[in-house]
Point group: C2
Chain length 190, copies 2
Amino acid sequence: MQRDGDRRVRRTRALLHQSLIELIMAKGYTRVTVQDILDHADVGRSTFYSHYNSKDDLLVESGSDHLRAMIAKASASPGDPAAADDDPLLPALLIFRLAGANRQLYQSLIGGRGSAKVVSIAKGMLTEVFTDHLRRARPATDAIELEPTVAFLVNGLMGLLIWWLDTRPDLAPEEVYRRFVHLATCGVLT
Amino acid sequence: MQRDGDRRVRRTRALLHQSLIELIMAKGYTRVTVQDILDHADVGRSTFYSHYNSKDDLLVESGSDHLRAMIAKASASPGDPAAADDDPLLPALLIFRLAGANRQLYQSLIGGRGSAKVVSIAKGMLTEVFTDHLRRARPATDAIELEPTVAFLVNGLMGLLIWWLDTRPDLAPEEVYRRFVHLATCGVLT
DNA sequence: CGGTTAGTGAACATACTGTTCATGATTGAT
DNA sequence: ATCAATCATGAACAGTATGTTCACTAACCG
């Protein structure tokens, strides 16, 4: 199968990609510098900048790939006992499972040791996902009302996710999802 | 009235404090450098570092003072038509009004032009406030359940706040508060 | 007034960023 | 197998910001 691009390009990008992840787990995203990545991947400075514009750029690209792959894999398995197939909050279950399966990485990315910038990038991705999903699941909903609702929902989700990873990593993803659904649909006062 | 400390110290701190706020409104927090602050306040580099360890340090100190003053002023006015005095989400109304009264500053701080780091500092403050308030308003609530609930609530609040400041600055604080209460107590699907 | 404390400004070490360019190595296609 | 196109290299460079130091001067408080 003919993958796209030059073999050298694939090699370099994979190297940078992999180095970033390892360094994130070792030091937390904020403390990783481009220089660290170059040293760890043993790649020239000019090479890095011919592929990416910045550390963030590399993260976003790597992250998107990672997420797309995960989503493709997960959405191919319907009939989950933990949630109905038409659950309007279903994407959240995927997120929690993703985070649960890579706790150290996700903790280093968005938890206390991570970066607020990463959180905001992640929120951007989640906002897209939930906007699409909710629009499809409840087409009657007024578009004007959707924006603030998604903003509230996605941020609440991130808050719960960070809390989980930082202070209660012992909980199962499904348990956290259950709490999320309860908070999001029944309100915080019940 | 004998205020504490040397007059020169007060002068310098006030100067740095004021410069930071003006620069934030002009460029957004992220793009303000220590150098900018020094230039604008016309203060020596060594002077800055003898008072604060970093830009963040200055922000936190200034911000705490600011918030304390605002909260003291606002909580002295009970009997509000927009909310019952015993509303468990009442602190949110205060926040929205605060942001509404200083939109440009708050927008530069936590909106798109602001910094994710500032947002996380703000969330820390809000978490304290809501934990206290909810514990008092609903003493029966299990402490174990309180943490994730507050995490969800505070993050949702921030999300709505950012959405408001970034895309719908025309809405009144009370209107946003109404939406917030609805989302937080009735759920996102209604 | 006089001892103490604070501010000054310049210099310095350090660290990271992003760009440039001539050189040599790989690659994919013919 | 060859070859032109593409990519990686590494070193150098300019730019920016950080945080520290120190000898000197000025302002303050009692």
